[in-house]
């Protein structure tokens, strides 16, 4: 009986695979159109809003945007802002995760629940009060103020991730260090952190990528144009320069997006293809 069924089942599976392939390719085609626009327009001397193969292939758009005012200053600002905030977040998260992961206490559990709760809060909603507060304490339009807020807004998620990664480092490995008289801080620094390299990489890259793409926070907290990161300055292609040069906008979009795409590939690889952040939400 099972022999008789096999061919039909196999045939059914082949049909099913083909149907699935066709359906997926249709979705892929719809998703790829906006991406194709940015790639093709960036090398088009005469780009407009439609996807089209350039009549004239050129790097002039890249030449035009690769000047200090348009690209280098905003990217440097982004780097200072996101790099500074990421360092702060990762350092604070590693320190905070250690007691949470190593000792159990009621306070620790309550703190962890609060952290988890805070990861879900819509940061967008508190930006108006943050703006008002920053005006009061004169942190508005300062890089360090924005860095501190960025770091705080990313910290709950970083602590949560870091604690889960740290739980994966067996405590036995630390005990040797403890018997040698190492303080908890020394054992965190010398034993635990070196063992969780991939985990730290994920937290670092994820925090950085989130901030690099964030528009609303710098848009609200910074005012002077020369301090603006790329996520805000990109809007100048529309506002201040009269007619929009779409080719240049596309070229700039590519330059601005490349770092986060590369970083994403870096952590996706580290985690063995599957994406751990998505994969960690288990069924």
């Amino acid at each position: 009986m099972s022999d008789a069924m096999k061919p039909t089942l196999a045939a059914r599976r082949t049909t099913r695979r083909l149907t699935a392939d066709v359906a997926l390719l249709a979705v892929a085609a719809a998703f790829v159109l906006p991406l194709a626009w940015v790639l093709l327009s960036a090398v088009d001397a005469d780009a407009d809003l439609r996807v089209k193969v350039p009549d004239e292939f050129t790097f002039a758009n890249f030449d035009a945007v690769l000047v200090p005012d348009v690209t280098f200053t905003p990217l440097l600002n982004s780097l200072i802002l996101c790099g500074g905030a990421t360092l702060l977040t990762v350092a604070c998260a590693a320190l905070a995760a250690y007691p949470l992961s190593r000792y159990r206490s009621r306070t620790g559990r309550a703190f962890l629940a609060t952290v988890l709760f805070a990861t879900c809060l819509p940061i967008t909603a508190i930006m108006v009060p943050v703006y008002a507060m920053f005006v009061q304490v004169e942190l508005i339009d300062t890089m360090h103020g924005t860095i501190l807020f960025f770091a705080a807004s990313q910290l709950p998620f970083a602590v949560w991730l870091m604690k889960n990664f740290m739980d994966g480092v067996p405590k036995e490995l630390e005990e040797a260090a403890w018997t040698d008289g190492a303080s908890p801080f020394q054992s965190l620094l010398r034993v635990v952190l070196p063992l969780m390299g991939p985990g730290i990489a994920v937290v670092t890259v994820y925090s950085f990528v989130m901030m690099w793409g964030n528009f609303f926070v710098p848009f609200m907290l910074l005012l002077s144009p020369e301090q603006m990161p790329a996520s805000v300055s990109i809007n100048d292609f529309f506002g201040n320069r009269g007619t929009v040069v779409y080719g240049q906008l596309a070229a700039f979009s590519i330059i601005y997006s490349t770092p986060v795409l590369l970083l994403y590939i870096l952590i996706a690889r580290r985690l063995g293809g599957g994406f751990a952040l998505g994969g960690a939400v288990k069924g």
């Binding site: 906006p34 990109i234 986060v260």
Partner: protein
């Protein structure tokens, strides 16, 4: 790409749970908690502080200009909001945006893609997955520009429609809220896809195969076997999608600025306009507080879902 906490897949510390070298006294507890202090200070000053300030400001009439004159106005901001047509319009549009782009769009499309990927051939799976994930990783503002170009009257969508001999439209004018909703689907589907791929991978092959041999068709298998088995993932995913969608600002700002008129003005954009175009910080904060309360409720439900999962 958005902040999305993964559920606890904490490797359980086991029976020999770490308790430190000796049992703790109060002083020792304090010493142990010390490393957490920089993080706690940062969170208190820059996260708890603003939230507290938000609650306070929502009951004042603080204006952008003339800081000194703010005074306590009780519930006036809230009664004003619920009597304001523009506010109700924003609430309605936020609902439409959330239901269309998150509940229906990202969630359903993500699940469909994940299910199809299990059957598709490897190259197709990799290609589609790659494209969808790139859309997700791109910075929000870039995604906004790409979809602005896609939906504009002179844009790609109308070019495709012309080519198919279908009527083209000025999408950003006739259906702005749908245009931004689709933009959010384009940008956010990857997250649901990844969540559901992981969930489907955990269903034992024997279960689906047994059903198949018993002659259960694709839809019935999906409805009676697959969906019940991944219901917790569905819960968490819906929750996280909704929370992310509630706070979308940059995408809509870049595409439509909330316009034309206020026909794509969701609550975050309404809040921004009230604060900075109309200089009413107190009133805008009241709106922000409402958004925060809704977000907190979703947050609590999400935590409850995680707890029942463990």
């Amino acid at each position: 790409m958005t902040a999305a906490p993964p559920a606890a897949k904490a490797p359980s510390p086991g029976p020999t749970a770490p308790t430190g070298p000796t049992s703790p006294g109060p002083r020792r507890m304090l010493a142990r908690a010390l490393p957490a202090s920089p993080g706690v200070v940062l969170l208190l000053l820059f996260l708890a502080g603003p939230i507290g300030y938000c609650v306070y400001l929502a009951f004042t009439d603080l204006q952008l200009t003339g800081q000194a004159e703010s005074s306590f106005v009780g519930l006036e901001n809230f009664t004003k909001a619920f009597g304001d047509e523009d506010f109700l319009n924003a609430v309605w549009l936020t609902l439409v945006f959330t239901v269309v782009s998150s509940l229906i769009g990202q969630n359903t499309l993500g699940l469909t893609l994940a299910a199809l990927m299990r059957r598709a051939s490897r190259p197709v799976r990799t290609l589609t997955g790659g494209i969808v994930v790139v859309a997700w990783v791109l910075p929000e503002v870039v995604a906004g520009f790409l979809l602005y170009a896609f939906f504009r009257r002179e844009g790609t969508l109308n070019a495709v429609l012309d080519w198919l001999h279908l009527p083209s439209q000025n999408w950003m004018f006739t259906l702005p809220i749908l245009a931004v909703s689709f933009a959010n689907v384009w940008r956010g589907t990857a997250f649901s896809m990844l969540v559901y791929s992981a969930a489907l991978n955990e269903i034992p092959k024997e279960v689906t195969e047994a059903a198949e041999v018993d002659g259960a068709g694709g839809w019935r298998r999906m409805w009676h076997i697959t969906l019940p088995m991944i219901r917790r993932s569905i819960g968490t995913n819906l929750m996280l999608n909704t929370l992310q969608t509630l706070s979308v600002f940059g995408l809509i700002w870049v595409m439509t600025r909330g316009g034309p008129g206020n026909r794509s003005q969701t609550l975050p954009l309404y809040m921004y306009e009230q604060a900075f175009q109309n200089s009413m910080i107190g009133y805008a904060t009241a709106v922000a507080l409402l958004l925060l309360v809704v977000g907190s409720l979703f947050s609590l439900v999400y935590m409850r879902l995680l707890r029942t999962e463990a």
